[in-house]
C-alpha cells in the first residue's frame, strides 16, 4: 500500500470518528446504521493490522498533531505495548458490534443511536491512548474515554443508573485530576518533557521516598486500573447494557488503565530506578492485596455480572503486579495478560449477556441446568473461565506462567504465593457455575422455555472463545510484541 505508517495512525484515530458521524447521519435507518458500525470497525481492524508489520520490524511510527504550548505536544508514537492494546481493541470491536446488534435489538433498548455513537468515540479515544506519544496526549484521551463512556454507563436513564454514573464519573475524574494530573505536571517540572522513552526519562531527576510517592500518584491516579481502594466505579459501571460491560469494562476502559500503568512504569520510570525506590514493595503489596480481596468478594456475589466485575478487578491487579515486580519477564507477563484477559473476560460477559437476553436470568443461583438450553454459550463460558483460572490449553495460562517466572526471577515470594492462592480462588468462583450449569437439574418453578440467544450474539461469543484457544496455540505475535516492551532500541 502507498500509505505511510504515520498516515495509518491518522486513519486509526479518525475512522471511529467518521463512523460516529456516519451513525448520526443514518440514525433513521437502523439497518444501515449498524452496517456503518460494522464497516467502520472492520476498517479500523484492517488499519491497525496494517501497522503491525511496521512495529514488528522495529519501526516506531510517529505523528505530531499540534503543539499546544511550547514543549506540550499532542503526538502519537506506536510502540509494541500500544500496538498490542490497539490490536486487542480493534479485534474485539467488530465482534462486539455484532454482539451489540443482537443484544440491543433482543432487549429492545432505547437510544440506540447514542449508544453506537458513544461507542465509536470511546474506541477513537482508546486508539488515542494506545498510540499516545507522551503523558499529555495520554491524559487527554483518558479523559475523553471517561466522558464518552459516561452516557453508556447511564444508558438506562433511571435513578439507579444515574447514581452509578455519579460514582463512575466521580471516582474516575477526581482521581485523574487530583492525582494523575499532578503526577504529570511533576514529571514535566522535573524533566521538561512528558515523552514516553524506552528505559524511562526520570533517571537522575528524582530518587528516595519522593520517587515512591510519584509512583503511587500514578498508580492510584490511573483510576481505570482499579487498584483498591479505587475500584468501586467498576462494579457501579455494571448497570450498563452488557455489550458496554463486555467491551468497555472488561477490555477497553480497564485495559486503558493497566496499559497506562505499564506504560508509565516502562517508559517514564524505567524498571531500574524503581528497584531502588524505598517502599516500592508496599505498592506491590497493595496490588497483591487487591488480587486476593477482589477474588474473595467475587466468591460472595450472586449477580453474575458483579461476580465478573470483581473478577476483573482482581485480574487487573495481576497486570499492575506484573509491572511492579520490576523484572523483564514479569513485564512480558503483564503485557500478555492484557491480551489474554481481554479475550477471556469478554467471552464471559458475552455469555452473561446472552443468558440474560435469552432467559432474563441475572444471578448465579438461577443457572442450574442452563447448559442444556444454551450449549454454545455455556461452552464458551467454560473456556473463558478456564482462561481466568489459567489452565492450559487457554490463553490465560501463558501470561500467568510469565508472571510466575518473573516473580521467581526477582524472588518475590509474596507475589508467587498470591498468584497461586488467587488461582485457587478463581477456580472457587467459576467452577460452581460450570458445575451447576452442566450437572444440576433445572429448577422446576422458574422454568421458562428458551433456547440460545439471537444468532449474532452466539457467533460473537464463539469467536472470542475460539480466540482464547487460538492465543494459546499461536502466541507468537503478542509474545514478540510483549518481549520488546520497554526495551531500549539500539
Amino acid at each position: 500500500m502507498g500509505l505511510q505508517a504515520s498516515d495509518l495512525i491518522i486513519l486509526a484515530l479518525t475512522i471511529p470518528l467518521f463512523t460516529g458521524a456516519g451513525i448520526l447521519l443514518t440514525s433513521r435507518w437502523p439497518n444501515i446504521r449498524e452496517g456503518v458500525t460494522l464497516t467502520g470497525s472492520i476498517l479500523l481492524f484492517a488499519t491497525v493490522i496494517a501497522l503491525l508489520p511496521h512495529v514488528l520490524d522495529g519501526e516506531r511510527p510517529t505523528w505530531e498533531l499540534t503543539e499546544i504550548l511550547p514543549g506540550l505536544k499532542l503526538s502519537f508514537t506506536v510502540e509494541p505495548l500500544g500496538m498490542m492494546f490497539a490490536l486487542v481493541a480493534a479485534t474485539l470491536w467488530p465482534i462486539n458490534s455484532l454482539y451489540s446488534i443482537g443484544y440491543m435489538r433482543g432487549n429492545k433498548e432505547s437510544n440506540q443511536t447514542r449508544f453506537y455513537l458513544c461507542f465509536a468515540i470511546a474506541l477513537s479515544s482508546v486508539i488515542g491512548i494506545a498510540f499516545s506519544g507522551n503523558l499529555l496526549t495520554l491524559f487527554v484521551f483518558y479523559e475523553v474515554l471517561t466522558l464518552s463512556t459516561y452516557p453508556l454507563v447511564t444508558h438506562a436513564g433511571h435513578i439507579k443508573a444515574r447514581d452509578a454514573g455519579r460514582v463512575y464519573l466521580g471516582i474516575l475524574i477526581s482521581t485523574s485530576i487530583g492525582l494523575l494530573l499532578p503526577a504529570i505536571i511533576w514529571v514535566w517540572h522535573l524533566t521538561g518533557t512528558t515523552d514516553f522513552v524506552a528505559g524511562g526519562i526520570l533517571k537522575g531527576h528524582i530518587d528516595g521516598p519522593l520517587l515512591t510517592l510519584l509512583a503511587a500518584l500514578f498508580i492510584f491516579g490511573i483510576g481505570k486500573a482499579a487498584v483498591m481502594p479505587i475500584h468501586k466505579w467498576l462494579p457501579a459501571a455494571m448497570v450498563a447494557p452488557t455489550p458496554v460491560s463486555a467491551l468497555l469494562h472488561a477490555v477497553a476502559v480497564v485495559k486503558a488503565g493497566v496499559f497506562s500503568v505499564v506504560k508509565v512504569i516502562a517508559y517514564i520510570f524505567g524498571l531500574e530506578i524503581l528497584r531502588d525506590a524505598p517502599g516500592i514493595d508496599w505498592l506491590l503489596g497493595i496490588a497483591c492485596f487487591t488480587v486476593v480481596v477482589a477474588s474473595f468478594v467475587a466468591l460472595q456475589q450472586d449477580n453474575l455480572k458483579r461476580r465478573l466485575a470483581y473478577s476483573t478487578i482482581g485480574q487487573l491487579s495481576y497486570v499492575v503486579m506484573g509491572a511492579l515486580i520490576l523484572a523483564p519477564l514479569s513485564l512480558i507477563g503483564a503485557a500478555l495478560h492484557i491480551v489474554a484477559h481481554a479475550f477471556g473476560k469478554i467471552t464471559l460477559f458475552f455469555a452473561a449477556g446472552a443468558i440474560y437476553t435469552a432467559s432474563k436470568k441475572t444471578d448465579v443461583s438461577q443457572l442450574n441446568g442452563i447448559a442444556k438450553r444454551m450449549p454454545w454459550t455455556m461452552a464458551a463460558f467454560s473456556i473463558g473461565a478456564l482462561s481466568m483460572i489459567a489452565l492450559p490449553p487457554v490463553a490465560g495460562f501463558l501470561s500467568k506462567w510469565y508472571l510466575l517466572l518473573g516473580a521467581s526471577q526477582s524472588q518475590q515470594y509474596m507475589a508467587m504465593a498470591v498468584i497461586v492462592l488467587s488461582t485457587l480462588l478463581t477456580a472457587g468462583y467459576f467452577v460452581p457455575i460450570i458445575y451447576a450449569a452442566y450437572l444440576k437439574d433445572e429448577d422446576a418453578e422458574q422454568q421458562r422455555d428458551h433456547g440460545e440467544a439471537p444468532l449474532p450474539m452466539v457467533v460473537a461469543l464463539s469467536l472470542t472463545a475460539g480466540g482464547t484457544l487460538l492465543l494459546f496455540f499461536f502466541p507468537e505475535i503478542p509474545l514478540e510484541l510483549a518481549q520488546s516492551v520497554g526495551v531500549v532500541s539500539p
Binding site: I68, T154, R162, G165, R166, I173, S174, P182
Partner: protein, 493 residues
C-alpha cells in the same frame, strides 16, 4: 487619517452612539445600530492590537492638548489586549441581545437597554485605554451607572434590590478610588499616569502615598469583586437580563483587574507595591480563600446564574493569585485567564440565556430534561463546563497550566494542590447542572420546549467554539499575554 484618531474613536464612537441610539424611534433599527457600532469598535480594537503587538506604544493627546494639561490616551500591548477582549465579547453579546431581550424586557425599555449597553461599553473601553487617572474614574462611573441601569432591567423584581445593592457597594468603591486619586494629585500635582509613575518613584516613604495606595486597592477590590468584597456580584449577575449577565461577567471585572494591574505595576511601581507595601501577601490568602470558598458556595446554589456567579468569584481568585505570585509566569497566567475566563463565562452565560429564553427561568429545576429538548444548547453548556473545569484542549486548561507552573516555579506546591482541588469542586457544581438536564424528565405539566432560536445559538456557539480553538491554537493568547506580562514586570532575570 482615521488610523491616527483610532484611540479616540475607540471610545468616542460608542459614547456618541448611545444618545443617538436613544433617538432612533424604531426598536429594531436601534438594535441593529448598536450591533453595527459594536462590530466597528471590535475592528478598531483589532487594528490597535496589530499596531502595538510589537511592543510599541501609541500616545494620543485629546483635542490636541498635550499631556500635563490635556487628557492623554496611551495604548500599549496590555490595554490593547484588554480592549480586544471587551470589544470582542460586545460584538457577540450585542447581536445576541436583539433576540434575548424580547422575552425579558418590555418593548418600551428596549431603547434604554441599547443605549445603556453602548454607554457601558464606552465606559469599559475608556477605562482601559485612558492614560489619565482621573479620566479613568470618570469612565468607571459611566460604566458603573449604566450597569446599575442594565441590572435593574431584569424581569425579576429582585433585580431592583440587586441593582441597588450593587449601586451602594459600587459607589463606595468608586469613592475610594476618587479619594485615592485625589491624594495622589495632592502629592504629585499630576493626573497623567506616566507622570504619576515618574514622580511617585522619587517620593520615598510617605504616609499619604500609602493611604492613596490602600484606598485605590480597596476601591478596585470592590469593583473586581475581590473576596470578601464580592457580595454584590452574585445577585447582580443572577437578576440581570441574560445578555447583561454575559456581558458584565465577561468584561466588567476584567477591566477592573486591568485597572488594578495598571495602578500596581505602572503607577505605583513594582518597588512600592510589592517591596514596600508587600501587596502580594495580602492578595494571596484572599485569592486562596476566594478560590476554595466561592467554589464551595457555588455547589449549593439553586439558581444556575448564581452558580456561575460564585464560580466567577473563584475565577477572579485565580487571577489575583497569578498577580500575587509576582513573576512573569504568574502574571501571564492572570492575563491569560482574563482572556480565557471571558470566553468561558461569556459562553456559559450565553448558553444559559438561551435556556432561559425557552423555559423562562434559570432555576436548576427548570432545566430538567433539557438535554433532550435542547440538545444543541446543552451540548454548548457541557463544552463550556469542561472548559471551566480545565480539561485539556480547552482554554481553561491553558490558564490553569500557567498558574500551576508559576506556583511550582516559586516552590509553592500547596497552591498547586489548591488549584486542583478547586477544579474538582468545579466538576461538582457543573455536573449537578448537567445531570439535571440529561437525567431528569421535564417537570410535569410544563410547556413543551424546543431548541433556542438560531439568533441565540450562533453567538453562544461562537464563543464556546472559541473556547476550544484558543485551547489548541494558543499562540495568539499566550503570545499577547506573555508580552504584556513581560512589559509590566520587566524582562525575566
Amino acid at each position: 487619517m482615521t488610523m491616527e484618531h483610532l484611540p479616540a474613536l475607540q471610545v468616542v464612537l460608542p459614547l456618541l452612539a448611545a444618545p443617538l441610539c436613544f433617538l432612533i424611534p424604531n426598536n429594531r433599527l436601534a438594535g441593529l445600530f448598536t450591533t453595527l457600532v459594536s462590530w466597528i469598535v471590535f475592528v478598531f480594537a483589532i487594528l490597535l492590537v496589530i499596531a502595538t503587538r510589537d511592543g510599541s506604544e501609541i500616545h494620543y493627546a485629546f483635542g490636541g492638548w498635550e499631556p500635563p494639561w490635556g487628557i492623554e490616551y496611551t495604548v500599549d500591548i496590555l490595554n490593547s489586549y484588554v480592549l480586544l477582549i471587551v470589544s470582542g465579547i460586545a460584538a457577540v453579546v450585542f447581536p445576541y441581545s436583539l433576540t434575548s431581550i424580547k422575552r425579558e424586557i418590555p418593548e418600551s425599555q428596549h431603547e434604554l437597554f441599547f443605549s445603556s449597553m453602548l454607554l457601558c461599553l464606552a465606559g469599559l473601553l475608556g477605562m482601559t485605554i485612558t492614560g489619565d487617572a482621573f479620566n479613568l474614574f470618570v469612565l468607571l462611573e459611566i460604566s458603573s451607572l449604566s450597569s446599575y441601569t442594565l441590572i435593574s432591567l431584569g424581569r425579576d423584581r429582585r433585580a431592583l434590590t440587586a441593582s441597588f445593592q450593587y449601586l451602594i457597594m459600587g459607589t463606595i468603591g468608586a469613592t475610594f478610588i476618587l479619594i485615592g486619586v485625589g491624594l495622589l494629585y495632592a502629592l504629585t500635582g499630576t493626573l497623567n499616569m506616566a507622570d504619576l509613575a515618574v514622580r511617585i518613584s522619587s517620593i520615598g516613604e510617605s504616609r499619604t502615598l500609602q493611604a492613596a495606595f490602600t484606598f485605590i486597592l480597596v476601591g478596585f477590590g470592590l469593583k473586581l469583586a475581590m473576596f470578601p468584597l464580592h457580595l454584590w456580584l452574585p445577585n447582580a449577575y443572577a437578576f440581570a437580563p441574560s445578555a447583561v449577565s454575559a456581558f458584565l461577567a465577561a468584561t466588567a471585572t476584567k477591566v477592573a483587574i486591568y485597572a488594578l494591574l495598571r495602578f500596581l505595576f505602572t503607577i505605583f511601581g513594582i518597588e512600592f507595591s510589592f517591596e514596600a507595601m508587600q501587596v502580594h501577601w495580602l492578595l494571596m490568602p484572599l485569592a486562596v480563600i476566594a478560590i476554595l470558598f466561592a467554589s464551595l458556595v457555588a455547589v449549593f446554589q439553586d439558581d444556575i446564574k448564581k452558580v456561575l456567579a460564585y464560580s466567577s468569584v473563584a475565577q477572579i481568585g485565580y487571577m489575583l493569585l497569578g498577580i500575587s505570585l509576582f513573576s512573569v509566569t504568574g502574571l501571564t497566567a492572570t492575563l491569560l485567564h482574563l482572556f480565557n475566563h471571558a470566553l468561558i463565562k461569556g459562553g456559559l452565560f450565553l448558553t444559559l440565556g438561551a435556556m432561559a429564553y425557552s423555559v423562562g427561568s434559570t432555576n436548576i429545576d427548570s432545566i430538567k430534561g433539557l438535554g433532550k429538548a435542547m440538545p444543541l444548547t446543552m451540548a454548548a453548556f457541557v463544552v463550556g463546563a469542561l472548559s471551566l473545569i480545565g480539561v485539556p484542549l480547552t482554554v481553561g486548561f491553558i490558564s490553569k497550566w500557567y498558574l500551576i507552573l508559576a506556583s511550582l516555579e516559586k516552590g509553592y506546591w500547596p497552591l498547586t494542590i489548591i488549584i486542583l482541588i478547586s477544579s474538582l469542586i468545579a466538576v461538582m457544581y457543573t455536573w449537578r447542572i448537567i445531570e439535571k438536564a440529561y437525567f431528569q424528565p421535564r417537570p410535569e405539566g410544563s410547556i413543551d420546549v424546543s431548541e433556542a432560536p438560531m439568533s441565540l445559538l450562533i453567538p453562544a456557539w461562537l464563543v464556546i467554539a472559541a473556547n476550544i480553538y484558543f485551547g489548541v491554537q494558543t499562540q495568539l493568547s499566550t503570545g499577547l499575554a506573555t508580552n504584556a506580562a513581560t512589559m509590566l514586570i520587566g524582562a525575566p532575570n
